[in-house]
């Protein structure tokens, strides 16, 4: 059988495992979801709850809710389900008795790891290590990953400044009371529109929505403009290059200013595509030059792939699209990787990065299997194919509804489109859900598409049909 036929056969198998389309029984949230939301409201805040799910019945790209509504999921738990719901390979991980103990006995990984830990790290995280990186530290979630990556950059920077890694007596005594030089006035340079998490260090580098930051004390750290580009990027190369140059100039200015202020920039953190902030892209040229600026000024370069990593852009890491041998000093991840953590260059190794759990080895078991599935089912090629079809479809709809849609953009299936205004965007999200397609927003008025890696071309067509109907209602 040729490639085409194999692919059809694979699609057929998946279709048999999956449902054959959305199926809506009630409004969403339905009566059972509403009842449960009320129950949960007695225990915690439910302001953000959409509906309750029946995960047992969910399969592949379809999420089933507690009222029996079955939706094509193009949001996947805020971009965190890598290969769809209840993938048979993941079920197998669970039913393998050899894996039992990893779930039942959560170790303190930093002091007493299980026997198979180095092997499982090699099989899972190291097998997809970014170029130039052979070291990785797991963490429990995305925020902890970034917090600890920042700490690794601060420690590295301070050792560089000292010329060695032995703290002075003054360092030791002053740090105990939160004072310099033990707690130095270093900063992390971040970008307007960026999102890096919500713990206090991360939050000082997050600038996507006020609601994330409001009322929480922060650090006086430099914030650079992220390029505001015109899409499709290839049609506006000259203007976009100018905009990127402007932002890079500002980055250098800020690094110099903050050094003069006595708050030197120990590290620069950036997403390859600003996700929460509205799916803002920049060109490989921008990232190459930014990486060089970091080098030039002696700042570490941290690429946050918490949302972009794990294959959705058609490459395993979004930064691979830059085509660099030495793309970063630190790459952090979470979400689709099922475990948080960060890769780093040898120089950024720090034995003071530590906590009780340091991740969760049961998540590494799942990740190893996810990576097997990605390879076995050629999911990165699949994503590239589905992504092309998706973006083409968005271009067509944008031509058809120029007053409603603009700036279709994407890499792989990691796509987005802008809607006329916030109110229309939110109405479209709800109407699409009523028709059985689950989408998410980002930025002020964008819709982001975040399907699992098993989202095939026929799912794209199914989505485009529903989306087209919804748009017609809003024109």
């Amino acid at each position: 059988p040729d490639r085409e036929e194999l692919s059809k056969a694979a699609a057929k198998t998946q279709m048999e495992f999956e449902y054959d389309g959305p199926s809506m029984k009630t409004e969403v949230p339905g009566p059972r979801s509403k009842e449960l939301t009320k129950q949960l409201g007695e225990i915690q805040n439910v302001g953000a709850i959409n509906f309750f799910c029946n995960y047992e019945e969910s399969r592949g790209n379809y999420l089933v809710d507690v009222d029996g509504n079955r939706m094509l999921d193009v949001y996947t738990q805020i971009s965190s389900i890598p290969i769809g719901y209840n993938h048979p390979s993941l079920i197998k991980v669970m039913s393998n008795p050899n894996n039992m103990s990893a779930f039942v006995n959560r170790p303190a990984l930093g002091i007493m790891p299980p026997e198979n830990f180095p092997e499982k790290l090699a099989e899972s995280l190291l097998s997809v290590a970014p170029s130039g990186m052979s070291r990785v530290q797991t963490m429990a979630c995305g925020s902890c990953s970034n917090e600890n990556a920042y700490k690794a950059m601060f420690i590295w920077y301070r050792n560089k400044e000292r010329g060695h890694n032995i703290p002075s007596d003054e360092d030791v005594s002053s740090c105990m009371i939160n004072q310099s030089p033990g707690c130095p006035d270093f900063s992390i340079l971040s970008f307007m529109g960026g999102f890096h998490g919500r713990t206090m260090g991360c939050l000082a580098t997050t600038h996507s929505k006020a609601i994330h930051k409001l009322d929480v004390p922060s650090f006086d750290w430099p914030i650079a403009p992220f390029p505001k580009l015109k899409y499709p990027l290839e049609e506006f190369t000259r203007e976009n290059a100018q905009e990127e140059a402007r932002c890079l100039e500002e980055v250098e200015d800020l690094i110099v200013q903050w050094r003069q202020k006595g708050r030197p920039v120990a590290g620069i953190v950036i997403e390859p595509i600003q996700a929460e902030g509205g799916d803002n892209h920049a060109t490989p040229d921008f990232f190459k030059k930014l990486r060089n600026i970091a080098h030039k000024h002696g700042s570490a370069f941290h690429v946050d792939e918490v949302q972009t990593g794990g294959g959705a852009t058609g490459k395993f890491w979004a930064h691979e699209h830059w085509g660099m041998d030495d793309p970063a000093d630190i790459v952090s991840f979470s979400k689709k990787m099922l475990t948080g953590g960060f890769y780093h260059k040898d120089e950024l190794q720090a034995y003071r990065i530590f906590n009780t759990w340091m991740g969760d080895p049961s998540k590494n078991l799942f990740l190893a299997e996810v990576l097997n599935v990605i390879r076995r089912e050629n999911l990165l090629e699949e994503v590239t194919r589905s992504g092309k079809t998706l973006l083409q479809g968005l271009y067509q709809l944008q031509d058809q509804y120029p007053n409603l849609l603009s700036s279709a953009r994407g890499q792989g299936t990691f796509c987005a489109i802008d809607i006329r205004d916030d109110a229309t965007r939110n109405s479209i999200l709800l109407k699409a859900r009523d028709k059985g397609v689950l989408l998410g927003g980002c930025g002020d008025r964008s819709i982001r598409f975040r399907p699992a890696l098993v989202f095939k071309e026929y799912h794209v067509h199914m989505f485009l049909n529903v989306f087209s109907d919804v748009l017609a209602e809003h024109n």
Copy 2:
């Protein structure tokens, strides 16, 4: 059968499940551990690795390493294994097919929780909610729990200051660039010797060891002295009361000073027993008065039970020993609770506490079962009994070795003792391990005892025998 006999029968069952004592085959770390440490060293820092474990073969109170050494575990993965290794009830949770989907499909709990989520929260976390608290938020780890608890206190304090919860335009715009008033200059008051985690917000309240804090930027927040008491507490009531009064006075002074500095104290955070910092105790009277000071000055009161919570002190929460109806505004937890999170009063509810995962429902399933086991096997009574025997034994050894040991102290099995000096402490820890007893240090020269809740009186005697031999070698 009377209570005594039932208890003996239960002990027998456990003994059959467990091993009958330590059994050492090699030095620790043995050859296989050394080989694996070398392997892991290629991937990440191994400076803190003690040895590698065979978790499959570990049972109850016994941890088995990869060289076949079987040790009585009085440290339990930095105090995070509640009912011993491979407890049959936890294995059952894993093999129940109804639970499969919670492991395989990790949801974004804040937007699309599973159907059984409210029920499982009620069964698990709410069934042991601290007095006056009916609301709980799960988080992935201890640091995230405290970070988000601090945020909840900041948001609550700011709303109180505003008189309502609607931010001004200036709040909204200034917070995006990390500036006041949107990111207000609020502080959290913490105590010297306290440990609350290692992310940047938590770290600003952690003051146990320089190594945790060195080279990481921090906040200018007030740090109060924690009482340095003499043990046994009941023998030094007058001096201890004076010392506590001195510290409380300092707390009030700091609150006033920081208000004058324009950095008002939004919250006070404290451990019921400072654990990492050296197992420092204070009396219920101290905590009652501190709670009143918080009230008086309008600061929230956050009790960090990450290490003390979950039963080891003989009560489910260590703060229950204070005998207060309204002990706190926030109680955070992790470790033995298997999931991180925090309980809070209704007023501290904040819909802006959010992240992708918001905990992990598969951990709630295990926790619900751990709580069943605690109730079924009367483990809190067991802990009280074992703890009494342990502390009596430590008192005896301290009488026997007055130059070596001092300040034996504890609640339940959450006990500690001071050793002559740091070097002797470390030597004792290693020698005990060689004889098959696993212990941990804390503070400058203390040994902390952190067995699981299934540590029975006969385990205490086994431990005391080994400990006594080791001490004899150091006298």
